[in-house]
């Protein structure tokens, strides 16, 4: 099985020959890959070198935390990669942005109103969690819409708080 794996705009061609051999950009490596204690922690031996990483699923990529550095890796198989190259990548940059709570907490302030125009970096909402007040900022300019929470309200992780259109 052949994959194209992208990290920081660099594409790696990774072919999995069998359980013990992987070809990266034409170079074959002996690998021994094991999950540790059934956790998202993995031990990997590559030609005898020992590595250990946490691997988390994020939206479109896998996050690999390796020796104190985080790598965001997008893995697609060869066929899909060809399709995407031919027709362009799927998701577009426009569309609605949903501000979601990054953690459970208490809404301390919503310094914007429905319909207000905002610039990138403006504070949309202040959420208190673990005794810290966290400012949630706009990732891009737009217009605030559909504010779904009020000051004093408790919110769950990933709950949608408002949108920017």
């Amino acid at each position: 099985m052949k994959y194209i794996t992208t990290i920081n705009d660099r594409e790696y061609s990774v072919e999995i020959l069998d359980e013990r051999r992987v070809v990266v950009d034409g170079v074959c490596y002996a690998v021994d890959f094991e999950s540790v204690s059934g956790q998202p922690v993995f031990s990997l031996l590559v030609d005898g070198k020992s590595y250990e990483a946490y691997i988390y699923d994020s939206d479109d990529a896998l996050e690999v935390l390796l020796r104190g550095a985080l790598y965001s890796a997008a893995v697609v198989d060869e066929r899909e990669h060809r399709l995407r190259s031919a027709f362009g990548s799927g998701p577009t940059q426009s569309g609605e942005y949903y501000l979601k709570a990054p953690m459970p907490g208490l809404v301390i302030d919503v310094p914007v109103t429905d319909g207000q125009e905002i610039a990138e970096g403006d504070v949309l909402l202040i959420l208190e969690s673990m005794k810290m007040q966290n400012e949630l900022k706009a990732p891009r300019a737009g217009v605030v819409s559909r504010i779904k929470v009020a000051v004093g309200e408790s919110v769950e992780r990933r709950q949608t708080l408002l949108s920017v259109v």
Binding site: P40, G68, A69, A73
Partner: protein, 504 residues
């Protein structure tokens, strides 16, 4: 003399105090909120009593209820830890009024040092230098503060009068942005301390935050245990501490002078028990009193490591009326100690707090490593309390040995279930400026970037690519299998469907 102590706290510090009590043969009483039934401090105490629901106001801040539990359980003393009720003079007074010992300073000393304005005026009168600011002015309105600000000069800091731990603190660059920042500082202070008062203080640029640990008994003896370097902060929250300070280094004269000034500041309020005097030290080695923390500090273990003094045990001995068992001449700093505060927060998402259940935990162990923590495999990190889940402390004969040891300990430390700032500390330990000791309180915000990499040979994106691809490949194979299994599982239902159709 008491033989049972109630610990009015939770988390790692409650466990730390419990351990000290156990090792002194003293019985322990824990208190807990509904969120903490499974917490380590409940499990390790001799007795444990429920305070109420998870929010602090309904549990760990219920002073009256805590005193009632102490009285009913026969505890003779209360240790407040840090945070919560630790620096509330009214609580300390209520403890004394109930006939219990308070393992900490007298209420009058807490009150004097708790109002930062009064504290600055008091120590200033005792001949201790203070950072220029609006000390000793009481509660000032926004209008007053805006008028005083230009006299102090920009940049300056807005700080909470009742504050600590960076809460209710804002840096102000000019008069224009000051009103908004005043408002947010007051809001945060009100929420954190129930007191929205703030004061102004000159921002000393390029300054170091260095503090002196003191111990004072009821018999007039006050000693200092040397300094801690606490300049590595983010949003005025300490992240990393070390003892001694490389900046002070071999300047034993400066160390002793700061120590003596700290002792004088403590004496100015008739201080008893453990306390810490925080100083700002500028590039020219001038130092200024910042505030006094009238309680045990988070970072006390590094002082324990280099002096050999068990500060919590000393606190208890002092509260039992004992005379300090050593004098200033006996205190020696040996070796080097570092502490990383391990917080449940994601350094790759602007240090956002992270909550969840710890599903897997591998602690670093071995020579020269100490971990203070209240969590274990299966414990929940809730949004109700602060994000400190563990302190990783290492000791070495030299700073270099300690840094190398910290690197290996951080790499060994595995916490699954919440994101932590361990990668931040790993990057810090690899930073050349950190290694050379070239940092001040602005370092993390101005010179530090989670994206850049320090150590030679790293990053290793190709290895990361192999990891990611193998995981994606496994997931693909597994999901294929699951679909097949589901098909088998639903086959009975197909039969049922046929049977039902036949008999419709």
């Amino acid at each position: 003399m008491f033989n049972k102590v109630l610990i009015a706290n939770r988390g790692e510090i409650a466990v730390r105090i419990l351990r000290a009590c156990r090792e002194l043969g003293i019985e322990t009483v824990a208190v807990y909120s509904e969120a903490d039934r499974h917490a380590l401090h409940v499990r390790l105490a001799n007795e444990a009593y429920l305070l109420g629901p998870a929010p602090s106001r309904e549990s760990y801040l219920r002073g009256e209820k805590i005193i009632e539990i102490a009285t009913q359980s026969g505890a003779g003393a209360i240790h407040p830890g840090y945070g919560f009720l630790a620096e509330r003079a009214d609580f300390a007074q209520a403890v004394l009024d109930a006939g219990l010992a308070f393992i900490g300073p007298k209420p009058s000393a807490i009150a004097a040092m708790g109002d930062k304005g009064i504290a600055r005026a008091t120590v200033s009168a005792a001949g201790v230098p203070v950072v220029p600011g609006t000390e000793g002015e009481g509660a000032l309105s926004d209008a007053d503060l805006l008028k005083l600000a230009p006299e102090i000069g920009f940049p300056l800091l807005v700080k909470a009068t009742a504050g600590g731990g960076g809460k209710g603190m804002r840096e102000v660059q000019n008069l224009q942005e000051m009103p908004v920042l005043l408002q947010s500082a007051r809001r945060e202070a009100e929420s954190a301390f129930g007191d929205g008062n703030v004061y102004l203080e000159k921002l000393v640029e390029g300054a170091r935050h260095i503090e002196i640990q003191i111990l004072a008994d009821e018999h007039g003896n006050v000693v200092h245990l040397g300094e801690r370097e606490c300049s590595l902060q983010r949003r005025h929250q300490k992240l990393f501490e070390e003892a001694p300070s490389l900046f002070i280094g071999d300047d034993e004269e400066l160390r002793q002078r700061m120590g003596q000034v700290a002792v004088r500041a403590a004496q100015a309020v008739n201080y008893v028990n453990a306390g810490t005097i925080e100083f700002l030290v500028d590039r020219d080695r001038n130092f200024y009193f910042l505030e006094m923390n009238t309680r045990l500090q988070v970072e006390h273990p590094i002082t324990e490591a280099v002096t050999g003094v068990d500060i919590v045990k000393e606190q208890i001995r002092i509260a039992r009326g004992r005379t300090l068992s050593f004098t200033q001449a006996d205190v020696q700093m040996n070796g080097w100690a570092l502490e990383c505060r391990v917080n449940a927060e994601d350094p790759y998402s602007n240090f956002m707090p992270s909550t969840g259940k710890i599903s897997h935990l591998l602690l670093p162990t071995g020579p020269g490593v100490r971990v203070d923590t209240g969590v274990f495999p299966g414990s929940e990190i809730s949004p109700y309390y602060d994000s400190l889940i563990s302190k990783l402390i290492v000791f070495g004969q030299t700073r270099a040995e300690a840094i190398l040891r910290m690197r290996r300990a951080l790499e060994e430390y595995k916490i699954v279930g919440v994101r932590t700032n361990i990668p931040f500390h790993q990057k810090l330990m690899d930073s050349h400026r950190f290694m050379a000791g070239q940092f001040d309180t602005q370092f993390v915000e101005q010179h530090f970037d989670m994206e850049t990499s320090g150590r030679a040979g790293e990053p290793i994106p190709e290895i990361a690519a192999i990891f990611a691809t193998l995981v994606a490949h496994q997931d693909t194979e597994r999901s294929t299998h699951v679909i097949q299994r589901n098909e088998r599982d639903t086959s009975n239902w197909k039969w049922v469907g046929r049977w039902e159709r036949l008999h419709r």
